[in-house]
């Protein structure tokens, strides 16, 4: 789980190396948060359409990105 989020601010633009390192770390954190949230949503019975809508992407895009991780049983259920 991801906890303790308290965004204080962003690194000063005068220090692009620190700012870009933060971008990399935030991207990884966002990726992790998305995976965990999608897995939990599906476990709670959300459909791929609901997941896609919440993420602001198409159902196909959500399915393509996350379905492999769910295994054949989840994939076989399709869009419940």
């Amino acid at each position: 789980m991801i906890d303790g989020m308290d965004l204080r601010g962003v690194p000063a633009p005068e220090d692009p190396e620190a700012a870009l390192a933060a971008v990399v770390a935030l991207r990884r954190l966002a990726d992790r948060l998305e995976r965990e949230a999608v897995d939990e949503a599906l476990a709670q019975g959300w459909s791929w359409s609901m997941v896609a809508e919440a993420l602001g992407v198409t159902k196909q895009a959500a399915h393509k990105k996350h379905a492999r991780r769910q295994g054949p049983r989840r994939d076989a259920r399709g869009d419940r």
């Binding site: 965004l7 690194p11 390192a21 933060a22 990399v24 992790r32 995976r35 965990e36 492999r68």
Partner: protein, 161 residues
């Protein structure tokens, strides 16, 4: 260079790099995961170079985590400990930077006229990275890139004699 044997080294490294990425809660392999894999590769070349500085593969992995944790702390975030990610069945998933990094590794192997690609070539390529997670990881470990490159090249030379 023995192409098939070298391809097996790369395949083994990428398989281990994927395990490292998953262990760190990531689904896509990045160059720093290849560096961690090299540090623990069974050929022992990178491990020997790092051991001379008192560093092992676990310390390299911890440094990668520390680099990201520091970057998040700089924006006031504490991501906590990542849960391991289950491996994704199917094709290997790596960032574009992994392909670029491996091309650099192969260039180094060619430049040193290597018969077989070694984990020490990964270290040499890593020392040429000036910015980003790999560079920050080496800095965090207190490793001087020029010194590390010289040590890795010396290890490669010792192994071909």
């Amino acid at each position: 260079m023995r192409r098939i044997a070298s391809m097996k080294v790369i395949n083994d490294l990428l398989t281990e790099a994927e395990r490292v990425a998953n262990r760190l809660g990531e689904s896509v392999v990045a160059p720093e995961h290849v560096l961690v894999a090299a540090a623990g590769h069974p050929d022992g070349a990178a491990a020997a170079v790092l051991a001379a500085s008192g560093i092992d593969a676990g310390m390299v992995e911890a440094a990668v985590v520390g680099v990201h944790d520091d970057a998040l702390a700089a924006v006031g975030l504490d991501a906590g400990v990542a849960s391991p990610t289950a491996p994704s069945p199917g094709v290997f998933r790596g960032t574009d930077a992994v392909g670029e990094f491996l091309r650099s590794v192969q260039e180094q192997a060619k430049a040193y006229d290597a018969d077989l690609l070694s984990s020490a070539h990964i270290l040499v390529a890593a020392t040429l990275v000036q910015r980003g997670t790999i560079a920050r990881t080496l800095d965090r470990l207190g490793l001087d890139r020029d010194d590390l490159r010289r040590a890795a090249v010396a290890e490669l030379g010792a192994r071909t004699r």
